[in-house]
């Protein structure tokens, strides 16, 4: 097991280097640059524009830019964000936790909604209940988040005035302790709901399929033949095996928890990393973009590893060697 872990982690190193080269090329080959798009109307002299480009390293050839970047990166120094004038790691650290807290709550809610419904749907396949849930799931899957977000805002914030429109806290509030938590929760309800509802649909369908596959197996028939109650059959015998693919999915969701939800964050004014990353694209803030993309790439690799480990834990037939 430990051997396996060490090997997997070592294997990640060349992958990350490869990924970093590809990312760097993509990011740097896109036309436009930070200085040009920023100073477009600041009425600077051409000399000053050139001077700034030199300072920001925009005039360097691309291979030199990459070497400069990787030299810092091996020491975990990803450079300073052009926009924020702070180390990239600081910027990510500032904003990522807002995204994470919302994404985590939404993810838990998603599981709480999707898994029970998935099981119910599967056990009553083709019943009316199943049809209704399937219909709702498809709505959830196909609903764009901005549309749902604006509808919820319109109803709960604009018309009913019971939830705030935007932000994470009431402007100017100085709540502490419990009052702070209540205020924060109020602000989190709508974004969490949007994130959970739009992703619960597919998770529900996964669960349904997984359970359906299991209940058709011989050992379930045996369990039923033994006279076990339907509850025991489903929740003890079938569910355990049905959860194996779900657990894998959970591992793979890791990067999603940190990468931010660009659209949802923009709609609800949440200072999350998704919004920051999108701005980095439009401003051509290369260091921030590069740092963030790599951060997500590393999380994806870790998520893969995690789901392999989970798999081995929940399924004794799988041995990690």
């Amino acid at each position: 097991m430990w051997n396996y872990l060490a090997r997997r982690i070592l294997q990640m190193i060349p992958i990350i280097i490869g990924v970093s080269i590809i990312l760097f090329l993509i990011i740097n080959l896109v036309p436009g640059n930070f200085i040009d798009s920023k100073v477009s109307s600041t009425h600077m002299t051409p000399q000053q524009i050139q001077h700034l480009k030199d300072i920001y390293g925009i005039n360097d050839p691309i291979y030199l830019k990459y070497f400069k970047w990787i030299k810092g990166a091996v020491h975990f120094d990803f450079g300073d964000s052009f926009t924020y004038q702070k180390p990239v790691s600081t910027v990510i650290n500032t904003y990522v936790w807002n995204s994470f807290s919302i994404a985590l709550v939404a993810f838990i809610l998603e599981l709480l909604i999707a898994i029970p419904i998935g099981i119910i749907s599967a056990t009553r396949q083709y019943s009316k209940t199943d049809m209704i849930f399937t219909f709702l799931a498809l709505i959830g899957i196909s609903f764009p988040s901005f549309f749902l977000g604006y509808i919820l805002i319109k109803v709960f914030a604009v018309n009913l005035h019971i939830l705030p429109l935007a932000g994470l806290n009431t402007p100017g509030s100085s709540y502490i302790g419990f009052a702070f938590i209540i205020d924060r929760l109020k602000h989190m309800i709508l974004p969490v709901l949007v994130l959970a509802l739009i992703s619960a649909g597919s998770m529900m369908r996964y669960t349904r399929t997984a359970v359906l596959e299991i209940v058709k197996q011989d050992y379930i028939r045996t369990a039923r033949a033994k006279g076990l109650s339907e509850k025991v059959v489903i929740y003890k015998h079938a569910l355990r095996n049905a959860l194996i693919p779900i657990v894998t999915l959970i591992g793979l969701s890791l990067p999603g928890l940190f990468s931010g939800a660009i659209i949802t964050e923009s709609i609800f004014g949440i200072p999350g990393i998704g919004k920051i990353a999108l701005e980095a694209v439009t401003k051509r803030d290369y260091p921030l973009l590069m740092g963030f993309s790599l951060f997500v790439a590393v999380l994806t690799l870790l998520g893969n590893l995690l789901s392999d480990i989970f798999y081995a834990i929940v399924d004794p037939r799988v041995k990690l060697k």
């Binding site: 109307s41 402007p171 100017g172 923009s266 200072p271």
Partner: protein
Amino acid sequence: MKKKLAILSIVLSIILTIPACTSKSETGDTSGSSSLNSSSTGTKASQTGFDYKKYGVEYTSATDSSKSPKVATDRKDTLVIGLPDTTGIFNVLYGDNSYDWYMIYTMFDFNVDVDFDGKAIPAATDYTVSDDGLTYTFKIKDGVKFWDGNPATASDLEFAYYLEADPKYDGPSDISKTYIKGLDAYKNGSADKIEGIKVIDDKTLQITVEKASGPAIYALQVPLLEKKYYGADFKKGDTAKVKEKNGAPMGTGQYKFVEYKAGQELKLVANENYFKGAPKIKNLIFSITPTGQELQRVMAGETDIDMADVSPDNMKAAKDAGFIDIYRFPTNGYGYVGLNDADPKFSDVKVRQALMYALNRAAVVEKVYGEYARVVNIPESNVSWAYDDEGCNTYEYNLDKAGQLLDEAGWKLNSNGKREKDGKEFKIKFSCMSPHPVTDIMVPVMKDDYAKLGIDVTVENLDWPTLQQKATKKQLEAYFMASGLTPDPDNSLANAYKSNASQNYYNYKNDEVDKLCEDGLNEISTEKRKPIYKQLYKILNNDLPVLFVYQRSDMWVANSRIKNYELSSFRDFFYNLYKAEIGK
């Protein structure tokens, strides 16, 4: 003022992405209900005697303040301002966008300010300019103190100039246009002092410049940064230490920094020792509003004032809410169609004029902004002291005239009904951003009308940085963009229309324009500069280096419980926020 300029720039890029517009019309179109109440739609003076109309601000007063939501009315000593974004950099010289600067204006003072009509005026210093225009003397006013109690001194002012002139300085200000003596030797050479900057005494700083110029006073604007705090032992090249303080400002301004929650809000408290008088509202909060929800948040009472898109829909919603004051003023910028004037297709003035006549600007502007924008024929804001379009051609939509001009220029209709000259058909490749409120409407109209003239237009959609870079490299033959207008006309004109100027993306070259720009720059007297610019505008109006399209307007929507905002296109209300009051 460079900061102001920089802001304009950003505001500009915002023009490019967000709809809004201009005001010229009377606001007599209010819904019937307003007349029942004590509505005073139109322009009027504020309680402090500020004359909105004089500075081109269309002020629409709320009709029923009692409709203000309880959340807002409950904030007895707090003003909440909504803004779309901030980077958390609270140093004027390093701020990234206009919203950073808005916040900064409430925390810092400058030696020079821009007045409501765009003229330079003394701020935290009294200044004099010698008759030859070569020596500027800044004397810090009595009572100007930093938040930590230390009085501002001449060496604080000196420090700001040295920071901005530093070879390592990488912020958006450009000090080169001040023409301070010895600047180049310091910035690009080995000098360790700037020859032209001299501390006379504790409160007085003298600056000697190499050549007299009207706009130099704007370029000489610097904030008061406490040297002891930002860089007690500041040496050339030492900017990193100053930047470390970007998130923890120390100013002399109206409001003192309390707390910043990244990407959410900035909390400030009144500076009781402010040299112009203590602010009347104790707490000031800047709250980040998601784009598109500015008006909604003011209506919900979450914020007291925010800048909303100027559209007929928003205007109506704001008026219907009853408790919202609307402040609308012309944006400092204009949208234009750039044409590569060096391209043989466009090099003939007649062709450009034909394209202008064939572009139905009035219809496009009306469709996008309704009555809240105006068609422009010269690159200047109608609020500016330099504005004068007397005798300028208005290029009203006229396809016949356009066809005639094309004929005269040698572009004749061929057998396919296309314009042709020297065996080449007239085709235009037009680049623009999409989605974009203006081009989304303008491009189809333009394509259609140009097709009627026998010109084919193909469209290429690009994102903003790509469009900008291609323009900078002069790789575009025709495109849509917006350009900023500065308080001093020189900046926006010389940068855009002098040959080889940094924003002359369209290869325009006219020796007379170059000379007039130079004359306008070198003249110090505003009265003597006026006729120079008048002539310049007339030439540009005839030459059409680009096709001028529209100037829209900006709009602040405000909960009427807060009174006495003072603002104009050139000086936003943040500067005089200490005068704002919470009404009953």
